[in-house]
């Protein structure tokens, strides 16, 4: 029996409708003996590329299609419904839906893309206008959801015939009627009677019928998941008494479909063997839909913008590129240097070999345009290794000087598209996008999409809502989970200490967990990718469906990053980098107040003050080197040149940390260990890093030197190292080649060991150089223009730390923090001269940080300055009442006299007066001043909490100051005094949590890193997994922490505390207040903090020794095997990690935080940089 071809199948890309991934569908189709399968997602083609690839993998022929809502021919009269007072209106899904399948190769695919683009063109939900039908290249299936199907369901074949006419007119022979039987009763969708009516109607009208199963999921038993998805889409709970999913919409095999066909034709009154005819028709339709993924979708091809658009004029792109590069040589003054000329010609040859000249010109054009707009732009990534990029002005650093290799970026042997990433100011990223669209035209440019998929928290929320669970309860459960994959929900419950309490009541929630796991990784929304921009020739719209993004209305391809690469579309990554914006703001501030123009790209390299600052590890806010781990590393490495910075950035990566490159490097650098090379021939590439392999470039060089192959080949080999299988092959090849070149066995063995350990997870030097440039620039700004630097940081918030920590840092570094004042503050943070000699610049807080202020309001306030009185301010700046009251609370209106509460009262009355129309009389004393009303002023604690609530910053003083007395009672060591603490000493530390991370560490265990700020400095904490049972929950879910731990010292500037017990300080303060010290003692004696494990003894010290460099990794193998070992996740780089590491920790907003919604501390998914 031949396999059945399903013509109507949706995947998870049909948002909140399909329950299976396209890969799974292809796999099942193959298992069930089908030779063709269509993917007809709702309103999208986003799954097509994955589906095509998966089908190719399992040997099933893919058919491409889409299921679109179409405009009804005649307007449906609908009665206006009353607007609900609560809960919102129902989601309107009334539009009829029709399935389109691509038929004639590329033409069919282009037509599909056009239809999808057209359907998304209007406002609101996608709807295909009737005028968009062209009737070419497509097969149309009118199923139960179409207008014709609905008329049949309603028992109106006459009406169905009338509705069929326009379809027949438009599509003629390509029209099919689709019969679906899901075993339902009645005459609705999926009922036997409707299916039979459809088949009968088809015969009567002379339209060919086909059989489909309207597949929503791959396997039987997934009906409940479909119910949850339906509920999430319609935003209503599942009604257990209502119509649930039939459970039949799975990818049924041929016998089951034959059975269905027989039932249907019998019900339609035909003989049983007519079923064969129905199946034949279906098969014939599938056979008609021929679209070849390679030829017709354009997979594997490459499309660049036409040469005349990128400044080539009538010349070929290659010639234009060559002449621009040569011009660059002269402009940059390399004209007399032969090595540069040779390298340039080599590179141009490689580019010509691949025919990528247009690509380089395109990027150069974009960079030129961006620069012309006055936006800071920098290249990053391996593209920085190309001299041509440097000559075209794309990359800033000179690759020859820094020893960067073209081969790492592009070589004859490399067949994939090279990628050049450019960084621009984040605040002006959209401007850049618009400029690119303006330059190349909307038919060539689109942004790239990024599916947002279900992870555990969202899955819990949606399933909870579908199951009618209490929203507060759902919220609590969701928040207690870290940001992990949904499929790990139950495993996490078993294993994570901070979920222990929840695990106890697990049974209570019944089917919740099962359904949550079933949603794993299904797309639940589509967002614009934060950096990718597609550039193509004018045929872009025939190869990708383009939809407008929801917020900005930019054109966005439905395909994501990987799809786009597979489709051969040129993607340029334009990253918005906040640090670039911050630096631009700082420079602009300096120019505004002093007229001094700083060219950051031209600051003197090797500035001693800058390096002094970096070595002091007070690098908060500096690009790439501000994280606790980096501060520790910088303290030990003590960089003094640009190259040191490059090395520092490269070392602080999971790879080098895992391969234990850090310690030998530090030892050799400080002369504590001799510099060793596996062979004198390798001194060249390894000299700069004291014989330690840090960069990809060095591996390429080692392979090239030892085997004599070219660097291009060496790069290919290096890439192969990440795959264990090919690693073995490369090892053999390496040994043979090296032996042939006369290296002895010992050298080969030692070198191979290094190369092997390095795997592929070193760091590309070109990346590091590109990173180090803004690192140096930001540190330079911090050293020379601290106030402006902080103003930039606070305005654009680039780093990992909350703003309040930057403010504390500014205070510590002697930059006066000036309060918010409506008469002085600008929209963005500014600097002000505080005293003439010595010139001290202060930082004036900005209006944009006030909670809930809109851009327009901030601008209006700033434009109207100065204001003479409260009334003047009210009338001209026209703030909303809540905003004005917030301003009063934080003292921004103090200049108008009276205390802050009196001001609030006046504001309320002004508001009332404005609303009432009558001006009302204002009690003013002495004209300008506001009269006091006798209300009690805010206490100092209230002021602080107002600042935290309104600005998310403790602007006037550090919030820990209030608890100083209690902390002294407890004997807590301040961050400043901690610097003098001995190694191994047990101490108590306290502070406000500034950052929490659980980065991947080498031992594969989970370590919680946290940073506390206590006003005198920062304390870096590490919690190893023996303390997690006792501490994890407290650390994740509290804001103010009291921690007991052991001091770890690994250098003069390297200090951290290994925590063994943690308490919520806010609770303790309350207890102290209410019950006195005895209450505190009772709390400390209780079980909440610690389980009484040997906390301060040698356990801590031992751990510290195991901890190796920067408290991150412990030597592999030394850690005892734990039950987690078999759950470790192996990264594609070959790097193993704890399943719960590298995730955003639980408890985004602790109840204690005064402004729980806003960012008061940082939690990152644990990126090492």
């Amino acid at each position: 029996m031949p396999g059945f071809a399903h013509l109507h199948t949706v995947s998870g890309f049909s948002l909140r409708y399909g329950a299976s991934h396209p890969e799974r569908l292809a796999e099942r189709a193959s298992e069930r003996g089908m030779d063709a399968l269509a993917l007809t997602d709702r309103d999208t083609l986003a799954g097509a590329v994955r589906f095509a690839k998966a089908c190719a993998g399992v040997g099933v022929r893919p058919l491409f299609g889409v299921d679109l809502a179409v405009e009804a021919r005649e307007a449906v009269r609908r009665d206006r419904r009353r607007t609900p007072v609560r809960g919102g209106a129902f989601v309107d899904e009334s539009a009829p839906r029709v399935t389109f399948l691509a038929r004639d190769g590329a033409r069919g695919w282009a037509e599909l893309c056009r239809l999808v683009t057209a359907a998304h063109a209007g406002e609101g939900t996608p709807l295909l206008a009737w005028a968009a039908h062209r009737g070419e290249g497509l097969v149309v299936l009118l199923g139960p959801g179409s207008d014709v199907g609905r008329a049949l369901a309603a028992g109106r074949p006459d009406r169905a015939a009338a509705l069929l006419a326009p379809w027949r007119e438009a599509y003629g022979d390509a029209l099919r009627l689709e019969a679906v039987w899901h075993g339902r009763t009645g005459t609705g969708e999926g009922s036997l009677r409707l299916a039979a009516r459809t088949v009968g109607f088809a015969a009567e009208q002379g339209v060919r019928p086909v059989l489909s199963n309207a597949v929503r999921y791959a396997d039987p038993g997934q009906g409940p998941v479909a119910d949850v998805l339906d509920a999430a889409r319609r935003l209503v709970p599942i009604d257990p008494r209502g119509e649930l999913d039939s459970g039949e919409a799975w990818l049924k095999d041929a016998p089951a479909m034959l059975d269905a066909a027989e039932r249907i034709v019998e019900a339609a009154g035909y003989r049983r063997d007519t079923a064969r005819r129905l199946l034949e028709q279906t098969g014939a339709t599938a056979a008609e839909c021929r679209v070849d993924p390679e030829g017709d979708l354009g997979m594997g091809g490459v499309y660049f913008p036409e040469a005349h658009l990128v400044g080539a004029g009538r010349r070929t792109a290659q010639r234009a590129l060559a002449s621009r590069a040569a011009a660059g040589m002269l402009r940059l003054g390399y004209g007399g240097r032969r090595a540069y000329w040779e390298r340039m010609h080599d590179e141009l040859d490689i580019i010509a070999h691949h025919g990528f000249a247009s690509y380089f010109l395109t990027v150069a054009q974009v960079v030129d345009d961006v620069r012309e707009m006055g936006i800071r732009v920098a290249a990053r990534g391996s593209g920085a290794g190309s001299l041509v990029n440097h000559l075209l002005g794309i990359a800033h650093a000179d690759p020859v000087e820094h020893g960067l290799l073209m081969e790492r970026f592009l070589s004859r042997e490399r067949v994939v598209l090279p990628d050049i990433d450019i960084d621009v100011e984040s605040a002006r990223r959209l401007e850049v996008y618009r400029a690119i669209i303006g330059r190349f035209g909307g038919e060539r440019v689109a942004t790239v999409s990024m599916p947002e998929t279900y992870r555990v928290r969202h899955a819990i929320r949606d399933v909870g809502a579908a199951l009618s669970m209490d929203p507060a309860e759902t919220d609590r459960i969701a928040k207690s989970f870290p940001h992990i994959r949904a499929r790990d929900a139950r495993a996490a419950l078993e294993e994570l200490p901070e979920l222990k309490r929840l695990a106890g009541e697990k049974e209570k929630y019944g089917r919740l967990w099962e359904l949550v796991e079933a949603l794993d990784a299904l797309p639940r929304g589509v967002a614009m990718h934060p950096c990718g921009v597609l550039l193509s020739d004018a045929s872009l719209l025939a190869r990708t469906p383009v939809v407008p993004t929801s917020g900005e209305g930019l054109p966005m391809s439905q395909f994501d990053k990987e799809d786009v690469e597979d489709l051969g579309l040129l993607k340029l990554d334009v990253l918005g980098v906040r640090m670039q914006s911050a630096m631009a703001h700082a420079v602009a501030e300096v120019e505004r107040v002093s007229g001094e123009r700083i060219d950051l790209d031209a600051v003197e390299p090797g500035d001693p003050e800058t390096y002094r600052l970096i070595r002091s590890t007070e690098t908060l806010g500096c690009f790439q080197i501000e994280s606790p781990g980096q501060r520790d590393l910088v303290g030990r490495l003590q960089p003094s040149t640009f190259h040191d910075l490059v090395v520092d950035i490269s070392l602080f990566r999971p790879g080098p940390v895992a391969a234990d490159m850090v310690r030998p490097f530090i030892e050799a650098r400080h002369g504590r260990a001799p510099v060793r090379y596996p062979h004198p021939d390798l001194e060249g590439p390894l000299k700069g890093t004291y014989g330690v392999v840090v960069f990809h470039e060095q591996v390429i060089d080692i392979l090239a030197v030892m085997t004599g192959c070219g660097r291009g080949e060496a790069d290919r080999m290096r890439r192969g190292l990440s795959d264990p299988e090919s690693q073995g092959r490369i090892g053999v090849w390496f040994a043979q080649q090296a032996a042939a070149r006369g290296y002895d066995a010992e050298t080969i063995r030692r070198t191979w060991e290094i190369v092997e350990a390095f795997g592929s997870y070193g760091f590309c030097k070109a990346h590091a150089v590109a990173f180090a440039v803004p690192t140096y620039q930001s540190a330079w700004l911090k050293a020379h223009h601290p106030a402006a630097f902080y103003a930039g940081l606070l305005t654009h918030d680039p780093g990992m730390y909350p703003k309040r920590l930057l403010l504390a840092d500014a205070r510590r570094r002697g930059v006066p923090v000036l309060p918010l004042d409506v008469n002085v503050s600008g929209v963005a943070h500014r600097i002000e001269l505080v005293s003439e000699s010595p010139a001290v610049w202060g930082l004036r807080l900005a209006l944009c940080d006030v909670h809930g202020i809109s851009e327009a309001e901030a601008k209006r306030i700033a434009d109207g300055q100065p204001y003479s009185s409260l009334v003047d301010f009210w009338e001209r700046a026209r703030p909303s009442r809540p905003l004005a009251q917030r301003l009063a609370q934080v003292g921004a209106l103090d200049a108008f006299g009276a205390n802050r509460r009196d001001l609030q009262l006046h504001l309320t009355e002004l508001h009332r007066g404005a609303r009432g129309g009558g001006g009302g009389q204002l009690p003013l004393a002495g004209g300008r001043r506001t009269a006091p009303a006798g209300l009690p002023d805010l206490t100092s604690a209230e002021r602080l909490s107002a600042e935290l609530g309104v600005l998310s910053m403790d602007a006037s003083r550090n919030l820990m100051d209030d608890h100083r007395e209690f902390l002294t009672e407890l004997g807590v060591v301040s961050a400043r005094r901690l610097r003098e603490a001995r190694h191994g000493e047990t101490v108590l530390v306290a502070g406000a949590k500034a950052a929490t991370q659980t980065p991947p560490v080498r031992s594969g265990k989970r370590v919680i890193f946290s940073t506390l700020d206590d006003g005198t400095g920062l304390v870096d904490l590490a919690f190893f997994d023996d303390s997690h049972d006792a501490c994890a929950h407290t650390v994740f879910h509290s804001w103010l922490l009291l921690v007991r731990g052991v001091v770890q010292r690994r250098g003069p500037r390297s200090l951290s505390v290994v925590g063994s017990a943690a308490w919520n300080l806010a609770d303790l303060v309350e207890v102290r207040h209410a019950e006195g010290l005895d209450g505190v003692a009772a709390r400390l004696a209780g079980p909440s903090g610690t389980d009484g494990s040997p906390a301060g003894d040698d356990g801590g010290a031992l751990r510290a020794r195991l901890a190796g460099c920067e408290g991150l990794p412990a030597p592999a193998g030394s850690a005892a095997r734990d039950p987690m070992t078999d759950r470790t996740i192996r990264m594609p780089t070959g790097y193993e990690m704890h399943p719960w590491a590298d995730l955003r920790p639980a408890g985004q907003d602790a109840a204690q935080g005064p402004a729980a919604i806003r960012k008061l501390w940082h939690q990152s998914p644990g990126s090492a940089g």
Binding site: R81, P84, G88, D239, S468, R901, L905
Partner: protein, 322 residues
């Protein structure tokens, strides 16, 4: 020290027991004001002299009797005026009567939150807190004009007087029944309007039956819809004429429900409250020439009799029978 404020610890929905408990208080003084659903004020001015005991001592007697005769515990606050007695009740526990010292009223009040004052609701308390007037001491210290600017002239004056301990209120004897509540809860988030209406019908029928049983009519009907997120919407409607007629109540309830236009709201409960209860024999009724209305009322009367005989579910509307 003559006024007691008593709160009986009745289990919820047990308001029927209140009249009996009020009778208990009336054994001490005729001046008893009911504070439904579970409290009462009693003026013991004469009783102190008659029983030869102070109000606080009498409070213990009242508690013992309530426990002995009705098995109901109570908490009691005592003070020179009804307002102070009610404030005192907040601090009382079973067995510990809290009394406001007559000579230190202001001090007693000073530390109390503003919400402790009867008549200061959530909205007023929020306003006052916003301006830092979170305790009665601070309210008393604030300038009168400022208070009046905050919450209005009359309210401001009264608030300041109360906060300073001036209690002008007195105990006004009255009878119980002021309102009657019927609730219908759903086991799941219910969106189906048909089911909502069905429950409304059943609640209105029950309200009518209960009203007729105690021979009362209601003037106002209030519908409260509670949602899954524990929030609620409330709508009130004053009836054309005070009535206990189920059909009229149902009509009013449906009207309020339709006006909400609910679609996706996750309803967890519907509550109907009949307010402004007055004796049925004092109610006026507009006669019509339409015999249907008359018939409906007579059927209702018969149905009530049947229910009295065979239980509340003996006669129910057909749509509820399924």
């Amino acid at each position: 020290m003559t006024i007691l404020c008593v709160r009986f610890q009745l289990p919820p929905m047990y308001e029927a027991a209140l009249p009996g408990l009020l009778g208990l208080l009336e054994e001490f003084t005729p001046v008893v004001e009911a504070l439904p659903p579970d409290g009462a004020l009693a003026d013991l001015r004469g009783a102190e002299r008659y029983f030869g005991r102070s109000a606080v001592e009498l409070a213990s007697v009242i508690r013992v009797r309530a426990l002995a005769r009705y098995g109901v515990d109570c908490v009691i606050g005592a003070g020179p005026g009804p307002m102070l007695a009610r404030v005192a009740l907040r601090d009382a526990r079973p067995g510990v009567t809290c009394a406001v010292p007559e000579d230190a009223v202001a001090e007693f009040l000073a530390g109390k939150p503003v919400a402790a004052l009867p008549g200061v609701g959530a909205a007023t308390a929020r306003t006052l807190d916003e301006y830092g007037l979170d305790t009665l001491g601070r309210v008393a210290a604030a300038p009168l004009s400022t208070l009046q600017r905050l919450i209005g002239a009359k309210a401001g004056r009264e608030l300041r007087e109360k906060a300073s301990g001036i209690d002008r209120g007195r105990v006004v004897p009255n009878a119980v029944a002021r309102s009657l509540t019927t609730e219908r809860a759903f086991g799941i988030d219910e969106l189906d309007p048909a089911r909502h209406r069905r429950e409304l019908l059943s609640a209105a029928e029950e309200t009518g039956a209960r009203l007729r049983a105690v021979e009362k009519v209601c003037r106002t009907l209030t519908l409260t819809v509670r949602y899954a997120d524990r929030s609620a919407t409330t709508r009130s409607r004053t009836l054309k004429e005070p009535t206990a007629h189920s059909a009229a109540l149902t009509r009013a309830a449906y009207g309020m429900y339709e006006a909400l236009g609910l679609q996706r709201a996750r309803v967890r409960a519907l509550t109907l409250r009949a307010e402004g209860l007055t004796p049925a024999d004092q109610a006026s009724h507009q006669l019509t020439f339409d015999p249907v209305d008359e018939k409906a009322r007579r059927i209702e009367e018969v149905a009530d009799r049947a229910r009295a005989k065979f239980g509340p579910r003996a006669v129910i509307p057909g749509s509820l029978a399924a």
